[in-house]
Symmetry: C2
Subunit: 234 residues, 2 copies
DNA sequence: ACAAAAGTGTTAGACATACACCCATGA
DNA sequence: TCATGGGTGTATGTCTAACACTTTTGT
């Protein structure tokens, strides 16, 4: 033991300006539910490297903005919205992930209701697309496939013990809508009675008193989440 | 919506060398159980800023090493050991966390059996100390208090649904030792019969056939973990 | 009256919790 | 024989999973 202890300048050098620094970016997984599928925004790259490949939105972090600010900025640039559930996912820093040089990326994920964005109205509409997570292109730019998969996994885990799903639903919703979203993310059918029991026993949704009338069948009660805050149960 | 969409150079600038970059470091929470407490290695700073304050070990990431390599390097420098459970925790990037300039730090946590390190033999022995997590100094350097607290919370959560605790125990152990570790981390007493049932039903430990004889009482069977791999259950 | 989605209860099994006594050993 | 930690089983409550029919509406 201790054969190779290096006498290290403590923690970090006196002068940060002398060291060679990696570039640091944020990458943003913007998830939504659309047409029965979990989708994520991808951007077609118009430059090398990976020209023509699809990538996750992202940008270099400015020296004057925090990580979360950078993530929110990218989100706003791509979608025009700002008030969303945002969570830091993981930081990816392999040496070769970007051929232009060393780039470390801090991945975030955001959940938005699908109707809150119209990508066709975004300035780079031709290059931004909603893509089903289960139908990704074979290859994405950089290590972005890994990032999307990591994020999907986290989402799938986390809806099981938190109320994050509310990021994906409109303010008022029917129980059947909510259940559908769980089913899509989990990839399995749920029992309607048990689902209702679970949700109500956790006190995570509340009856608004309003009804939703549509089609030739019984109207549905509309519910909302009891709180906007993230709640972790279990 | 979309009132302020900025036409952005896609993803990142063509030339990474022109941008002003933050420094990037790793911070390492090295946890161990000692004298009935969960402890973490802290280092007394000998330079400004926060001279004389305790801090979490860390170092600037070299341009030629991955994040995990940097974390392992710091770990090896501080403890002389390399074969440990290491997990990325979170990335902290507030603007003002380091007064010398913009520093983003990627925090990792490592779990080691206490007897595997002798800090008094480390080169900076005077400056490195095991410190009980429940007895931290009032203030730590930078945002390190937040980091330690975040890490302790993650550890506490994760022992509930994984076998990571094995990072903290020696290769062979008595059930009572294992239980003690859970109790320390969770901060509550556990029932010995229920604990044993849980562990054996999850098939996470296995009888080695060996016995541990000590003191004037019945010898204890020695167990080991069934696998070295991380196992997530639940 | 029928089609379509909304809404509702009960039962059985799995799992978690609470709890108290005997065992093997060394002094 | 006694003190010490090792080792074991049962009963109860709680949570989960499986399962089918009635209600309300529009056409």
């Amino acid at each position: 033991m201790n054969t190779k202890i290096i006498h290290e300048a403590q923690n970090s050098p006196r002068d940060l300006s002398v060291i060679e620094k990696p570039a640091v970016s944020v990458s943003l997984l913007i998830f939504s539910i659309n047409k029965g599928k979990l989708e994520v925004i991808l951007i077609k790259r118009i430059r090398q490297p990976f020209e023509g490949f699809w990538s996750v939105p992202g940008d270099i972090i400015s020296i004057e903005e925090s990580l979360e600010e950078a993530a929110l900025r990218v989100l706003h640039e791509k979608t025009g919205i700002s008030d969303v559930y945002l969570e830091q996912l993981y930081t990816f820093g392999d040496l070769k992930r970007d051929s232009r040089g060393r780039v470390i990326t801090i991945a975030y994920f955001a959940l938005i209701p699908h109707n809150s964005v119209d990508l066709t109205k975004a300035p780079d509409a031709l290059h931004a697309r909603w893509t089903p997570v289960l139908n990704l292109p074979k290859e994405l730019a950089f290590d972005h496939k890994k990032i999307v998969e990591y994020g999907s996994k986290r989402l799938k885990n986390k809806i099981g013990y938190s109320n994050i799903v509310q990021g994906l639903v409109p303010g008022k919703f029917r129980f059947s809508e909510l259940q559908k979203i769980y089913e899509i993310i989990l990839g399995e059918k749920l029992d309607k009675r048990n689902f209702r029991k679970k949700m109500t026993s956790l006190d995570i949704v509340r009856d608004t008193g309003e009804m939703y009338r549509e089609g030739k069948h019984r109207p549905a009660k509309l519910y909302r989440f009891t709180t906007k805050n993230l709640v972790i149960y279990d």
